[in-house]
Amino acid sequence: MSSSLPSRPSSQEVWERPFVKTHDAWCGDFVLELRLRDVPGPVIGDRLAEVETHCTETGEAPSDAFGDPTDYAARLDHDSAPERAQGVWTVTAAGAAQVPAILVGISAVPAWARGEPLTYNVGQVACLGLLLLVLLSLPLLLRPMLRHPWIIGGPLFAVVFLGVGVAALSSRADLPTVAQLPAPVVAIGLFLAVLVLAWIEYRELARDIEGDLVTSPLEAPPGQPAATARHRRWVTIAPACLGPAAYLAFAALGWLAA
């Protein structure tokens, strides 16, 4: 956008606004499409406020006045912010890289507890390769998956789940061993790797998050405060903590079960 955003009577996260809550599906699709087009949060809030004020004045529903939210977002022809898009991909890549690290790392823990090396047979390596293939295809799958989470995400989840099942069965089958690794080194090394990836994720989420919140330029209704700093802190901390927490939880279960 060439012009700077105007002075604002107040600032409030759009999700707190009654209008957005009433027209949740339309507003959610509209915001998602603009996010996918790398439009900065405050600009999205500005466009959503236009929809709200127009619908308030005309008494129309957003779908009647503006049509399909995805088509309408496409017609707005915004300038994107490539640095934000890069941030989204950094978070996605760090999150995706944690998945194989966690799976391999926690599978090393029971072997460590039994004092054995971590071994992989042909079937397990093939399943790990399938998982890596799915993760590497995320750049292509992310956009359609966000638009159609059940249609794309469902089969993808099924493939991953099937791969994990086959890998578990392969571990019991009498297949030739193709890799033998020291279990404590793998378990500790991959936990450190997960920590580093979580830190990268946290740093990217914390960077400029306040400036990228989808805030409305409209006055907050009486009794509805602006987004609190506490809420914003959780937005950055919770996703980053998820990987290390899952690793520790599954590793503890693996150790106890060994």
């Binding site: 060439s2 012009s3 236009e50 004020t53 049509g67 017609r75 300038d79 006055e219």
Partner: protein, 115 residues
């Protein structure tokens, strides 16, 4: 449509719903938000208008659009072009000259090319 919206703004700062209402009153029919706001966004992006959110009277607030100097120049240039275009088309369509003489008492016939 862009020229008509700029013309409405020439009267002073105004907001989306008021623009749609004025165009409807002028006979343009019901202008949907999905048509009007992308146009306004384009005017904003091209620096033809500035925008300002003002607290609403009985509502949550309104986004006011004000013509910039570039917007006013665009309006003047557009009006001049439209007047030339309109005069040319009117002259061409008006029943004068040999056409009128060839057709008896207002019963002009128009042929349409099939190519």
């Amino acid at each position: 449509m862009e020229l008509c919206v700029l013309r409405v703004m020439a009267e002073g700062p105004t907001y989306g719903y008021a623009i749609a209402a004025e165009l409807a009153a002028a006979g343009f029919g019901d202008i949907k938000g999905g048509t009007l706001y992308p146009l306004l966004a384009r005017l904003e992006k091209n620096g033809l208008v500035t925008v300002e959110w003002r607290p609403g009277e009985g509502g949550p607030g309104r986004k006011y659009f004000t013509l910039t100097a570039a917007g006013r120049d665009q309006l003047d240039a557009g009006l001049a072009q439209w007047q030339v275009f309109s005069a040319t088309v009117s002259d061409h369509l008006s029943p004068t000259g040999t056409d009128q003489m060839a057709s008896p008492a207002g019963s002009r016939t128009y042929s349409r090319s099939t190519t």
